[in-house]
Amino acid sequence: MAELSEKLLTILSERNEFDTLDLSIELQFDHQRLVGAVKSLQSLGDVITCEQRNSKQWELTDEGKEIAEKGSHEALIYESIPLEGINQNELLGRVPNGKVGFSKAMSLGWIQIDKAAKDGPRVTKKVEAIEDGVKEICQLVKNFQIDKITDQQKNECKKRKLISEVKIVSYFVKKGTDFKTSVSKQEIELTADMIASGSWKDKSFKPYNFNALGLPPASGHLHPLLKVRTQFRQIFLEMGFSEMPTNNYVESSFWNFDALFQPQQHPARDAHDTFFIAEPEEAHEFPMDYLEKVKTVHSIGGYGSQGYKYDWKLKEAAKNIMRTHTTGVSARMLYQLAQKEKFTPSKYFSIDRVFRNETLDATHLAEFHQIEGLVADYGLTLGNLMGYIEQFFKKYGIKKLRFKPAYNPYTEPSMEIFSYHEGLKKWVEVGNSGVFRPEMLLPMGLPKNVSVIAWGLSLERPTMIKYGISNIRELFGPKVNLQKIYDNPLCRLDK
């Protein structure tokens, strides 16, 4: 190849330009190999310049190529007949494509047949010598002398499928700005041997093709939703919040609802919304002093409250459920905090699964993750709650917040958190918040002037907004698209 390349460069230095197709005819050299050599010269940089040209050309078919070399079928038939003649069947067996050759030779009047011969039809030569015109035409085509053939001959050959017209891409080559007549083979990669021997100094290296993609590294990937979970954990830890032990998916109605002053007829406690448990059907252990206080505050009030004035039943509170929120764990934590000898101000968070007996669709699953943060301290204000929420969302990249009055059985005041969505150009709800009711805190035994402020949101919704996912099932559960996990970018919430 290098030899051919240098030959081409010599030709170019003499002529200044050439067309690859013309040159291949002139040199009697295969055009494709010539183009290959030109391309490799082109890859060296500006040694040559090339301009692509398209043309049509007649080319021999495989049958045509054979004829150009060996002669036409009819000539081969003629040559195969001995002086004394030959049996027709024997003749046809001697020559490939015998039948075609036989009928052509007959119509050209080169041979004759005696059908009455006693050993079957006998063929003899009719003329003394022949001229194999078809072979000559094929040879002309092979030698690119197509202009010496008449149109009639061309059509005849085309009809016999000896020649065909093909599109040819050729290149018109000129000297480039870096033109030189010698090239050396370029190295692709630097090797240890080259460094050891120092041979790299004498070699030229092929420039790296920066347009190609690199080799993807073999790697594993973390799940996108859990990457977001990691970031939210990080935010809480940065803000000094400690993580709550939320590894208890099965919860009693008592801690999930009653402890939160959520009445026993509340719709959230309906089988339509909550997964009840057949086994283990009921919880069997409660802090009984505290339970009595919860019962009292529900049924007759106390701690400054009117209560809900209904017949509170232990049976209802004992029912086990798949927890509907992580706030039951918050209640357990606050209860424990209240049992300490001296109250210590505390900040807690959790991010874990909760369960709802939902009909599944693109935005609802039966389980999802709840993010929850709470602060318990003396004299906390509603302004503090909004302040914490503002800082929390700032770390998440959301700066514009506003709060809407809302209702929640266990918080008062209660606020829905809205953020201004720059893309949608409207306010969207991003979470819920409130100050835990005295009816929840005082029966636990927390000091009267201690307030607990809390907020919560789902992990899935911000993640779906962040990654533009419209179907939650593509994010959580077996129907996830693994390719999307492989391709998922870094999770930087504030970007």
């Binding site: 790697s219 594993g220 990937h221 973390l222 799940h223 859990l226 954990r233 803000m239 400690s242 939320t246 590894n247 208890n248 998916y249 099965v250 919860e251 009693s252 007829q265 089988a271 997964f275 086994e279 283990p280 919880a283 069997h284 400054g304 409250s305 809900y308 209904y310 086990n320 900040k347 699964r353 369960f355 007996n357 039966a366 602060v375 301290d377 906390l380 204000t381 509603l382 302004g383 503090n384 909004m386 302040g387 914490y388 809407k404 009055p405 809302a406 209702y407 008062e412 005041p413 606020m415 100050v435 009711r437 005295p438 009816e439 994010l475 559960g477 077996p478 996830v480 698209n481 996990i485």
Partner: protein, 586 residues
């Protein structure tokens, strides 16, 4: 959260001005309401039943407004506009009063002991000389419907009946009778039916069939009759046709029957406070003497005005503002909580009207101050609550391990904690009876029959949904499984598991084995501290499964899955796995 649909033009005419959608939205937002949707009857019908069904329906614009679940006083146009107008200081809160009649009045409802078996409570009141229009009448019906659905919990707790008083005569009797002994002409029907026939008749009624179960299996059904045995209603199912209200009705008898007396009172108060507005003497309601089975009696509606003493100082402290007592009093007045300053400004006496049964505690009053002040006008500050943060140990370990396993070339899955019984048993060649699983009592689909006891099924299902991905698939999950545990208060506990799966044309056990070795390496468990003990397990290929023993403790299994397991999870390639409990490494 209940949603009420109100005609925009009616709403604006009562509010005394019109609003752009944004303006109205902002007003709602401040007050704690949410303009959910702007629509029309035509649009709603065409959305639910198709455009052809909507032809000819009204195109009057309707605002659908979300109302907080505890604000029953905002569930109709009368109450919602009254609340907004008072909030805007364009109206003073009305005083609702009961007109007490002499003790011997025929305005009586006598509760018979038989009702104890089915629906023990009843209260009643009379709206005297009321004027209905088509709009008012519709609103009256709609409010009853909203109350039935919300506080009434689909009529199971409270059911309301309203009757044309001029067609009946007190005293009224609330009793419970065997169904065969009840016979009357139900609302909008032409003939009489026994209660047994009625239950049959309504079992195909798209609306009423949902309420039948409340009394269906009771030996006796509740019934309200007048002194001449005319049936008013058979709560909570249907009223009688005889006492039907029309636009011409002047005097309305309202009765509420219930399983919860407090809720019955709230419902009765709400209805009469809202609609006494249209009586000749506005906001005055005629009392009914309700006689209990023990002979004691009470006048209804109670229309209680309760007084709470609150401290402006405490209110300021809990919200984080500094308003003086008179300004707080006027903020409360705007929330329908008229307040006066007492003790030289040290205290406020707040009067809670019968429309505000949601106010249970001083904290509810504080919320109303904050709403009237404007949540978004409060300074946002951080408290100086200094704490040293700590991670929950098992979550910390999990996050550290996740990083290592992903770095080892495995991709993380996130699968459901609930699954089918088959997933944790049959498909793994086990019997559900031998699995210590938590069983769900009311799953809507087979996907949620049990809580998972292993992470493996979830990961195998993830593989099955990703069969078009290039092999091998290397997946893992570190998450909780749930196991029965009698020592826990609820009888079950979570356990943090780690499961890894290698799925390829060959089982590749050495890959899973290698990942496990790596896991032990990062957990600083030296080679001679763990070993594999061959064991038979129906989920695994015979001879290719082992218990994993770490320092003598069995923490899980590893091996090549049985081909039956692979096919049952709709897979077709060999698969090697390990699943361990990571809690021993805490």
């Amino acid at each position: 959260m209940p949603t009420v649909g109100l005609k925009r033009d009616v709403l604006f005419s009562i509010l005394g001005r019109s609003y752009s959608e944004d303006e109205f939205n902002d007003l709602c937002f401040e007050f704690g309401l949410e303009l959910d949707e702007v629509t029309s009857e035509k649009e709603m019908i065409s959305k639910e039943q198709g455009t052809d069904k909507a032809e000819g329906a009204s195109e009057v614009i309707i605002f659908k407004i979300d109302v907080p679940a505890n604000r029953y006083d905002l569930l109709c146009v009368e109450g919602l506009t009254r609340g907004l107008l008072i909030f805007q200081q364009k109206l003073e809160a009305p005083i609702y009063r009961m007109i007490e009649l002499p003790a011997n009045s025929i305005n009586q409802m006598i509760i018979h002991p038989s009702t104890a078996a089915v629906r023990p409570f009843a209260v009643a009141a009379i709206l005297r000389d009321i004027t209905f229009t088509q709009e008012r009448y519709q609103s009256f019906i709609d409010l009853q419907d909203k109350l039935h659905q919300n506080i009434g919990r689909q009529r199971s707790i409270v059911a309301i009946g309203t009757h044309d008083l001029d067609t009946i005569q007190g005293p009224f009797h609330y009793e419970a009778l065997p169904p065969k002994d009840i016979c009357f002409k139900p609302l909008n029907h032409k003939k009489e039916y026994t209660a047994i026939e009625l239950m049959e008749l309504f079992s195909t009624d798209s609306h009423l069939k949902h309420y039948l179960h409340i009394i269906q299996d009771k030996p006796v059904y509740p019934i309200i009759k007048d002194c001449n045995n005319v049936v008013l209603s058979m709560p909570p199912i249907i009223n009688g046709d005889h006492t039907k209200i029309t636009l011409k009705t002047k005097n309305v008898f309202v009765e509420c029957t219930a399983t919860d007396l407090n809720k019955a009172k709230i419902v009765l108060d709400t209805i009469v406070c809202m609609f006494s507005q249209y009586c000749a003497a506005p906001y005055r309601v005629e009392g009914v003497k309700v006689v209990s089975p023990d002979g004691s009696y009470l006048m209804h509606p109670e229309l209680p005005y309760r007084k709470e003493i609150v401290s402006p100082k405490e209110i300021n402290k809990s919200i984080g503002i500094s308003e003086d007592a008179s300004s707080i009093a006027s903020l409360l007045t705007r929330m329908c909580l008229p307040s006066v300053i007492i003790d030289n400004g040290q205290s406020l006496e707040v009067e809670i009207p019968p429309t505000r049964h949601d106010v249970l505690h001083a904290c509810d009053i504080i919320e109303d101050v904050a709403i009237a002040f404007g949540y978004n006008n409060v300074n946002r500050t951080i408290s100086d609550t200094n704490c040293v943060a700590e991670q929950f140990p098992v979550n910390k370990l999990t996050d550290l391990l996740r990083e290592v396993i992903a770095a080892a070339g495995f991709t993380e899955c996130l699968t459901f904690a609930l699954c089918s019984r088959e997933d944790v048993a049959d498909k793994l060649g086990k019997n559900i009876k031998d699995i210590p699983a938590v069983h769900i009592a009311n799953p809507k689909t087979l996907e949620f029959q049990v809580a998972r006891t292993t992470l493996l099924p979830g990961i195998l299902k993830t593989v099955a949904c990703n069969k078009k991905m290039p092999l091998p698939l290397k997946l893992f999950e570190i998450s909780d499984v749930i196991l029965l545990d009698k020592t826990k208060d609820v009888g079950a506990r979570n356990q943090r598991h780690m499961c890894a799966v290698y799925y390829n044309k060959v089982a590749g056990f050495e890959v899973i084995h290698g990942l496990f070795d790596r896991t032990m390496q990062v957990l600083e468990v030296p080679n001679n501290d763990y070993k594999f003990i061959p064991v038979d397990d129906a989920a695994f290929f015979p001879g290719q499964c082992a218990d994993i023993m770490v320092r003598g403790q069995n923490i899980g299994k590893l091996g090549v899955l049985h081909p039956d397991v692979i096919t049952k999870f709709d897979l077709n390639m060999p698969c090697s796995v390990f699943e361990i409990d990571i809690e021993p490494f805490l």
